[in-house]
């Protein structure tokens, strides 16, 4: 059988980086084809080539055996390829209706809104979606935004659907719904190219898997030829996934005590309602829950971004609720933020500079009123080596690094201050297995040094693996605290939906 879409030895270079180095890909009709690879392996770059955004330096692209050259996304649309980007291509200030209109190919010059609305309403209803067409995109949840993107592609009636890490931002329920849709889409004889780091999803969905590494194709496997171990081995290049023994600990001291905390309501997010929690010295406390149940506010209060409305916070027995006493504590807390690109780094600055964002005023990085560039450079070299950061050529702005490497820079910076408390939000979201594994190892190592960590995550596997205790949040409250060794997914799932445990 001939491939519907065939990519032959495509090369794409960016200044200083060879993102694709002769990559090959065969996508057949009516299959879900997963692209696997670590961050920076070239998955997104390849997809952007297929989408017409990047023009390759060399290589061929064949659809049904016919050679194609995409000069712009328009050509890609014409060839029947549609893509949902990792960062959605939506106009946030426009309504759902206006966004969908962009995808209508035979849009008349004069927009007859009534007629168009009926047509679009029909499509939206066919998917049983409850989306208000007049709502601006920015007010939609991420899951809803993704559906708008999908509807746009369906209107174009595309043959090949590309999804770049679609589940990284979805709740488990939203993911299941998406998978149901993808399976139906496949049964209609269309093809899906799917990028994900979550093994369970890959195993559930894929008919075929292509593994990429450093811009080249490592292997193409059909269903039956792969299992989780084979894929993990191909991706990171070793045959076993490192497993570590958790050292047993007795926790006695409390580092943080939160009592009856109330925090501000923000937009659609749940605030914190009468929230109490204790963090013990040297423990990793996992916080589970569907996004939007107050986790973000909790992190903001703990890291000093938002003052609480009432309640008390004690650190080492000292009341740090009000502003003055908070300062010292806030300066000493480590924070791995949710949105690493907008909150964790200064994107245009170099890795060296980003590594000292919090300590640039301190010795040895400061010399009178000047910066000590020698010390900054030495510090960077040490951190880059310790954390195995792929920082690119000297002076590269950090935004050009892959997500995993950016996250490593943030963690290196935060831990270099030797904090007593680390608040980490979704620390491995969107990271490949190798990077995620590394982040976990670093947190576990710091636990040995008696650092306390609060990990907020939606990935239950991650929480079960890391945590000494898991607290589950629902609508701004803790519905239960469980021991990872004596709990089940079902129990946590129930707590996540608001059932309380006595």
């Amino acid at each position: 059988m001939e491939a519907l879409l065939k990519v032959e030895s495509v090369v794409k270079t960016f200044p200083g980086v060879k993102a694709l180095d002769g990559v090959c890909l065969n996508v057949y009709q009516g299959e879900i084809h997963t692209l696997l690879g670590e961050n920076g392996a070239g998955k997104s770059t390849l997809m952007n080539v297929l989408n017409g955004l990047y023009s390759p330096d060399s290589g061929n692209l064949l659809i049904n055996g016919q050679p194609y050259i995409f000069r712009s996304p328009k050509d890609s649309i014409k060839a029947g390829i549609g893509m949902v980007h990792q960062h959605f291509m939506l106009v946030y200030n426009h309504t759902v209706f206006e966004n969908i209109l962009l995808a209508v190919s035979d849009l008349p010059f004069w927009l007859d809104k009534k007629k168009l609305r009926i047509r679009i309403k029909e499509i939206v209803d066919r998917f049983g979606l409850s989306i208000d067409l007049d709502e601006p995109i920015r007010k939609l949840s991420i899951g809803q935004q993704q559906w708008v993107e999908l509807i746009k592609l369906l209107i174009r009636d595309c043959k090949v659907l590309i999804l770049d890490e679609p589940t990284a931002v979805l709740t488990p329920q939203e993911s299941d719904r998406l998978f149901g849709f993808l399976k139906r889409f496949k049964e209609e004889g269309r093809s899906v190219i799917f990028i994900s780091h979550k093994m369970r999803e890959v195993m559930e969905l894929s008919d075929r898997v292509t593994v990429l590494k450093k811009g080249t194709t490592v292997k193409e496997l059909a269903r039956g030829e792969f299992d989780e171990n084979v894929l993990a081995g191909l991706m990171i290049g070793t045959d076993e996934i490192p497993v570590w023994e958790r050292e047993k600990k007795q926790f006695t001291e409390n580092v943080l005590t939160i009592e009856h905390l109330f925090a501000d309501k923000e937009k659609n997010m749940s605030d914190l309602i009468d929230f109490s929690l204790e963090l013990r010295k040297g423990e990793i406390l996992g916080i589970a829950g569907v996004a939007g149940n107050g986790q973000k506010t909790l992190a903001e209060v703990l890291t000093g971004l938002k003052p609480p409305v009432s309640g008390k916070i004690f650190a080492d027995g000292k009341d740090i609720t009000n502003a003055d006493s908070r300062k010292a504590y806030i300066a000493g807390i480590a924070h791995v933020p949710e949105d690493r690109k907008s909150m964790g780094i200064a994107p245009e600055m170099t890795v060296d500079e980003n590594l000292i964002l919090k300590s640039y005023k301190e010795k040895p990085f400061r010399k009178f009123i000047f910066q000590n560039f020698k010390a900054i450079k030495e510090n960077a070299e040490k951190q880059i080596a310790d954390f195995a950061i792929k920082a690119g050529p000297k002076g590269t702005p950090i935004r050009l690094l892959s997500g995993g490497n950016i996250q490593k820079v943030i963690i290196a910076r935060e831990l270099s201050m030797r904090p007593s408390v680390l608040v980490a939000l979704y620390p491995t979201r969107g990271l490949d297995m190798g990077s995620a594994e590394y982040v976990h190892k670093v947190i576990m190592d710091a636990r040995k040094d008696n650092m306390s960590t609060i990990v907020i995550s939606e990935d239950l596997d991650e929480l079960l693996k890391l945590s000494d205790r898991i607290a589950v949040m629902f609508r701004g409250r803790i519905t239960g605290i469980v021991d990872p060794e004596h709990t089940s997914r079902e129990e946590i799932g129930l707590l996540m939906s608001g059932e309380t445990v006595q």
Binding site: K74, I77, H85, M89, V91, Y92, L102, R138, R399
Partner: protein
């Protein structure tokens, strides 16, 4: 009295209205243009020179449109295709406009032409109080009012308008929908610049039918501020332009009546108002929402990795 003031208000507001509409069109595509002042000057001089030479006001207006368009093309090319800094490019355009018009305008100083005359619209002009003020104006005033409606319909009722707004909000989304971002931005800059040129020509062909150096006197800057006041909306732009026109009319009237207030103070009024209006427009906004096109002022590079 009210009728006279209203008449003067509309006349003083019209050049601002043209320029503001032009700037809105450009900014809706995501290109900010601080060169409006320069474009208005180019339009004013070219319009006057062409009208004087060809002895036709119509040719003057057309010439102003195309001359300003040509000047704006420099800005468009730098911002859209070379991805240069829009602020720097716009400021240079203003300085270029001031310089080149004072250089080539010397020989036209002191000449006069017969400016646009009033055209009375039957029936409507007989409405008491406002009839004479609104419906007994020159053709350019009528044209500017039609343009307000046309622009609104264009932006919200046509495919091209929707595409243009999308380009200004999120060029990436537009590009992946198959819209030619560069073409839309360039076209918006060209037409918008031309409209700013007509705004300048209104000064030298209708408002005060002669040419003097730097005759726009900062109106281009007021137009840039009015875009923000108008929240990138053409009907609000009309309200804004007439508000400023009104202040201008009132201060001229007060000067003519010989108040004890210093004329310099009175002449400051429109500019003081600009500042006040900007402060108010910013304060009034709902937190987190802004009517400003999201991609305003940023160049679009398809291959840039964000």
């Amino acid at each position: 009295m009210i009728e006279i003031l209203l008449f003067a208000t509309i006349k003083a507001g019209t050049p601002l209205l043209f320029a503001t509409l032009g700037a809105i069109l450009m900014e809706r595509s995501g290109v900010i243009n601080l060169g409006v002042e320069g474009l208005m000057l180019v339009g004013a001089l070219t319009g006057f020179a062409a009208a004087h030479t060809a002895d036709s006001l119509f040719i003057g207006v057309i010439a102003a449109f195309f001359a300003a368009m040509a000047a704006g093309a420099i800005h468009g090319f730098i911002c859209v295709y070379l991805r240069g800094n829009q602020i720097v490019s716009g400021l240079s355009l203003t300085m270029f406009g001031i310089g080149i018009t004072s250089l080539f305008g010397r020989s036209f100083v002191g000449l006069t032409i017969a400016g646009f005359s009033k055209v009375e619209i039957p029936v409507l002009s007989k409405i008491p109080y406002i009839g004479q003020a609104i419906f007994n104006q020159d053709v350019l005033v009528y044209f500017s009012i039609i343009l307000v409606a046309a622009m609104h319909i264009f932006l919200y009722r046509t495919k091209t308008g929707l595409y243009l707004r999308s380009v200004g909000e999120n060029p990436g989304a537009a590009d992946t929908s198959g819209i030619n971002v560069g073409l839309y931005r360039m076209s918006a800059v060209l037409v918008g610049s031309g409209l700013a040129g007509i705004g300048g020509a209104y000064l030298s062909l209708a408002y005060t039918p002669f040419w003097v150096e730097n005759m726009t006197a900062g109106r281009g800057w007021i137009a840039v501020a009015l875009v923000i006041f108008a929240q990138w909306n053409s009907t609000r732009a009309m309200a804004g332009a007439y508000l400023f026109g009104g202040i201008n009319a009132v201060q001229l009237r007060m000067q003519a009546m010989g108040t004890s207030l210093s004329p310099h103070l009175l002449m400051m009024l429109p500019y003081l108002f600009t500042i006040a209006v900007l402060v108010m427009a910013t304060l009034r906004l709902e937190k987190g929402s802004t009517p400003e096109p999201e991609a305003l002022g940023t160049a679009y590079d398809r291959e840039d990795r964000k």
